[in-house]
Each structure stands twice: as C-alpha cells, then as structure tokens.
C-alpha cells in the first residue's frame, strides 16, 4: 500500500473508532505547548507548597535576629550581609527564612484560590442552571438580581467585610467566592438555555425525570466545557484579589503569610533588600501565568470551531 493510502486507511480507522469529545479535547490540550508547560510548572509549585515543611529545614515563623534582612549566599550584588546556610532566598526583616515563607505563601494563596473558586462554582452553577432551566419570569428575576449585583463595586464590600469582621481567614474565602460567582452564573445560564432546546432533554422530560434530576444529570454535564475554562481563569483572579487585600493589610495576618503580604513587605524595603520583593513576586507571576496558559489552552481544546 502506498503511503497516502496507508494514511487514509489510518484516518478512516480513527474516524470509525470514534473518539469521545473529551478524548479529542485532551489530545488538543496536550498538543498545546504553553498549556503543557503551564501544567508542569503549576504542578511543581503545588508540590513545593504542599511539602513545604519537609523541603525546608526552617520553620516559617522561626525568628533569628542574627541574620536580619540578609541576602542569599549566591546574591550577585553587594549586600549588607549574607544569610549563609540553606537560606536559598535570603531572610526577611526579622531573620525568617524567605524560601519557606514564599512556599507557605503559596499554600495560602493557592488554598484561597481553589476554595473560593469552589464556592463560586457551586453557587454559580446551581444558580445559573436553575435560572436557565426554569426560564420565563423566574429566569428574568434571577438574572436581574445578578445584573444588580454586577454593578456593585464589590471590592469595596469585601474590604468593608474584612475590616468589620476582624480579618477572619474563613470569611476571606466566602467573601471572595461571593464576588466571583456572578460571571459563572451567567455563563451557565446561557449554556443551559441552549442545552434545554436539545432533543435529549425533551426525551428525559418525556420519560418523567424530575426537573432537579434533569438539571443535575443532563444539563450540568453538558455545560461543563465553558465552566472548566472559566474555573481555570477564576483561580488566578481570586489569587489576585486575595493578594490585593493582603497587600492593603486586610487579608492574611502574621505570622501566617501569603504572596500579597510578602510582596507588600518586600515593596517597603526593596531598595536595600530587593530579594524580598523579587522572589514572592516571581512565584506569584509565574503561577498566574500558568493558570492563564492552561485556561487559554483549555478554551482552544474545548472549542473546536477555531480549528
């Protein structure tokens, strides 16, 4: 068989084997180099964050006044002192190891990112799917409420919340989650509206499945694509909001830390100790990059019409 024929046969075979939409999407995602690199780097950061106590031999809150604001040993520029030992990123203004603090910051920032996104996912999907499925006046009312909430200057409410309720760690999750569910609800509603018209929903209704059953069993699985994309783009947003609050001194409190707190501390002293700004900023920027690359990759993978 000539090569062209062989390829044709192969293509045919593949076509007949019938790959699912998801397998197709996965293949496209793994062909996207930026997305794959993003996933790998993000995996490394997550691993470092999870196993921070095992990786560094310093505690994140261990103060050592003999090495205050010291550069790491390998620091290229002139510095007042070098931290020595295995302080790979130098030390902060009270002699705590910066490397382990950046990793603990990663823990908090990633945790806030994932948990708040999960909160927004649950609220947004249920709300949007319900509004889209019920339709009519209920839908109009529910989406009008979303419109009104949309035009609120939400960051101000989060700030008021954080100030008024004493910077509660768990409230932070809820407050941020409550801010970002709106877009999710809109996306899910739009998808639901179009999914509702499909024949298989008709069939389910004819077979006597309850509305709740139809929403959870048939609608939600079919609107999952855009939601997945939006989730990956929400996590970096949430990390940004959290660090924004922490930067203003309204988020995570000492001795616990997050990237926002570290960047804020570093910015105050960047002239004499630039490493205190550079390392947390670098970790945060790289992580946000990864999420964005993965999100873009997923969007291309799940939305084949661009190919």
């Amino acid at each position: 068989m000539n090569p062209v024929g062989a390829r044709k046969a192969q293509t045919l075979e593949r076509a007949f084997a019938g790959r699912s939409l998801w397998a197709d999407a996965r293949a496209r995602l793994f062909r996207n180099k930026a997305a794959v690199a993003g996933m790998m780097v993000l995996g490394i950061v997550t691993f470092l964050a999870l196993f921070a106590p095992l990786i560094s031999r310093y505690a994140y809150d261990a103060i050592d006044y003999s090495i205050v604001t010291c550069a790491p040993d390998w620091w290229p520029a002139e510095a007042a002192c070098n931290a020595g030992g295995s302080h790979w990123f130098g030390t902060d203004t009270v002699g705590r190891d910066l490397f382990v603090r950046v990793l603990y910051g990663a823990r908090v920032s990633l945790a806030v990112g994932f948990v708040a996104t999960l909160v927004s996912l649950v609220i947004g999907v249920l709300y949007g799917a319900t509004a889209g499925y019920l339709g009519g006046r209920v839908d109009a009312l529910m989406m009008r409420a979303v419109d009104i909430l949309y035009s609120l200057p939400f960051i101000f409410f989060v700030i008021i919340l954080m100030v008024m309720f004493d910077r509660n760690f768990y409230l932070l999750f809820v407050a941020i989650g409550a801010v970002v569910w709106l877009t999710m609800a809109r996306i899910v509603r739009g998808q639901t509206l179009s999914a509702k018209q499909k024949e298989y929903i008709e069939a389910a209704r004819a077979a006597g499945v309850s509305p709740f059953g139809i929403i959870t069993r048939h609608i939600i699985p079919n609107v999952v694509g855009p939601v997945v994309v939006y989730v990956t783009l929400t996590v970096p947003d949430v990390i940004l909001i959290e660090s924004f609050l922490s930067f203003l001194g309204l988020g995570i409190q000492e001795p616990l830390t997050s990237w926002g707190v570290l960047i804020s501390d570093g910015a105050n002293i960047m002239e004499s100790a630039p490493w205190m700004l550079i390392f947390p900023a670098l970790f945060m920027a790289v992580t946000l990059f990864c999420f964005n690359f993965i999100g873009d990759g997923l969007r291309d993978a799940l939305d084949p019409k661009d190919y």
Binding site: S151, F156, I159, M270
Partner: protein, 314 residues
C-alpha cells in the same frame, strides 16, 4: 431613543438604592464603633456623643435619617475628621482621583487600541506574538508589583536616555505636577492597556475576515481606508461595553496606586475610613464610586445603542 435612555436611567436608580442599603447595614452589623477607644469614656460623655450623631436611636431610624439627609444632598459629618463634613473631604479627594483615572483611561484606550490593531494586522507574526506576550504580562502582574518595580527603576536608580539622567518622584501629588503623575498613571493603566489590546485584537481579527471587508478591498480601497474607516469602527463596538468594567478596574486599582504613591485621592480615604470605622465617610466614598460606575455603565449603554441600533430595538 429618549424612551430607551429613560428606561435605562430609571433602571439604574434601584441599583444605587440597593448599594446604599447594603453598605449601610453591613457596616452597622459589625462589632465595634467609631467612638471605641482604648480608654473607656465616661458613660455620660459616651451617651452625649452617641446622641449627637444619632447613634443612640434604633438602626432603622438611623437609616431613615441617613436617607432623608442624602436626598437633600447631605452626606453628614465625618466621624473621625471632626472639622470636616464628608462632602468637603470628597470635594478635596475626588478631583485628584478623577484626574488620575481619566488620564489612565485615555492612555489605556489609545495605546491599547493601537497595539490591538497592530497585532491583528500582523496576526501570527512576531509583532502579534510580542504584543500578546506583553499583554499577558500586563494582565497577570498585579498593580502592586509593577508599582514598586517601576518606582525602583525610574525613581530610585534613574534611567539614562540619550545621556540625560531621567528620574521621577517616587510619590506625592505636588498639586498634580506632570512629573508626579506619570508613574501612577502608567501603573494604573497597564492592566487596562493589556485587556483592551486583547479585546481589540480579537474583534479586529474577526471583522477582517468578514464579507464587507472583502468587498471594500475588492472595490479597490487603500489598505488604510479599509482598516480605519471600515474595520476599526466595527471592531471598537465590544470596547464600548468594556467601558463599565474598565472603570471599575481603574477604581479598584486606584485604591492601591493612591496608597503606594501617597496620592490624596478618595481611594486612600476609603481604606483609612474603613479601618477607623468612620461610617459616614465610608458610605460617602461607596456612594461616590457606585454613582460613577452606574453612570458610566449608563453612558456605555447609550453609546452602544447609538452605534448599534439593534440593541434598543430588541
């Protein structure tokens, strides 16, 4: 058109009312008050102070009093800056914030649109890739990282351009001197430049593929005329609806930028007031911001319906 404008305008009023109500009750629901201090006041004095500010009345009555004054345009006295009313404080801070915001918006739109169009016309070439990479940086790196880094480069180390040392002040407002404005405006507009460039590129690419552009080319128009007169006009449509979110983004950014550069705008008041539980000042700033956002969303709607009549007919 006028009917549509009226409808949208009336629709915006309940939004403002809800914002005011939520902000009012949220603040009062929290523990602590503006006159709590480390030293306990004698009960009589405390009672007098509270009575002077109506804080001794039931919450719902206080709310009624606040609304009534608000309708008459009175935002009340500041609880902490005793000699000022909230309206006076906002009168001092708002022009500064608005100047900063407008300059940032102008820079963001002009630069963002040009970059976006350029990238779209050179799609999948190095110009496109470099603009989009820079835009990615602009979106992912937060304001509070770019601000200190730019200050470090331009304020502390200084930059030599053609042998001339070029340094900018690291902070302060100085009555709005241009040297003091450059860094805050650049920092504030960077994320918006990035977002606007991406939006413009996306819509431009889609429109360059459409049939009427092919027609325009086919009838022999110059490349410039096709891009500027036919494509750009349609490509800017999605940007108009981004106006509202852009303003919200600039306002949020100004909280940080005013804090970092020590600019006496209302963003800085807000943080201070929230920390001090200066109820009336927080309310005043929230109302101020909310009005701005609602107003700009309204203007965006109007422009959109002027440019695209399908919107108001549906």
């Amino acid at each position: 058109m006028i009917g549509y404008a009226l409808k949208r305008f009336l629709g915006a009023l309940p939004t403002l009312f809800i914002i005011i109500t939520v902000a009012f009750f949220m603040m009062r629901a929290a523990p602590g008050g503006p006159f709590d201090s480390a030293r306990k006041l004698p009960p009589d004095i405390e009672r007098n102070i509270k009575a002077a500010y109506d804080l001794d009345k039931p919450l719902i009555v206080q709310y009624g009093i606040y609304l009534e004054r608000l309708v008459h345009g009175d935002l009340g006295p500041s609880f902490k800056s005793k000699d000022f009313t909230v309206a006076q404080l906002i009168g001092i801070g708002l022009p500064v914030s608005i100047r900063l915001g407008l300059l940032a918006m102008a820079l963001a739109t002009s630069l963002g649109v040009s970059l976006g169009v350029w990238a779209a016309l050179r799609q999948n070439q190095w110009q496109d890739y470099s603009v989009m990479t820079v835009a990615m940086f602009g979106i992912t790196i937060p304001t509070f990282v770019t601000a200190p880094i730019l200050t470090l480069i331009f304020g502390v180390y200084g930059v030599h351009i053609f042998g001339v040392e070029f340094t900018l002040p690291v902070g302060g407002w100085n009555g709005g001197a241009w040297r003091n404005i450059i860094l805050p405006v650049v920092v504030l507009s960077l994320p918006q430049i990035a977002i606007i460039a991406r939006l413009t590129r996306g819509s431009m690419i889609e429109i360059l593929r459409s049939n009427y552009i092919r027609t325009a080319r086919a009838k022999g128009l110059s490349a410039n005329a096709v891009v500027l007169r036919h494509a750009l006009r349609a490509a800017l449509l999605p940007l108009v609806s981004y106006l509202g979110p852009a303003v919200a983004g600039i306002l949020t950014g100004s909280l940080i930028v005013e804090q970092i550069f020590g600019i006496p705008g209302i963003g800085r008041y807000f943080i201070q007031a929230a920390l001090n539980r200066d109820y009336t000042l927080v309310m005043g700033v929230v109302i101020c911001y909310a009005t701005l956002i609602v107003l700009l969303n309204f203007i965006a709607d109007m422009i959109y319906s002027l440019l695209d009549p399908r919107v108001r007919l549906s």
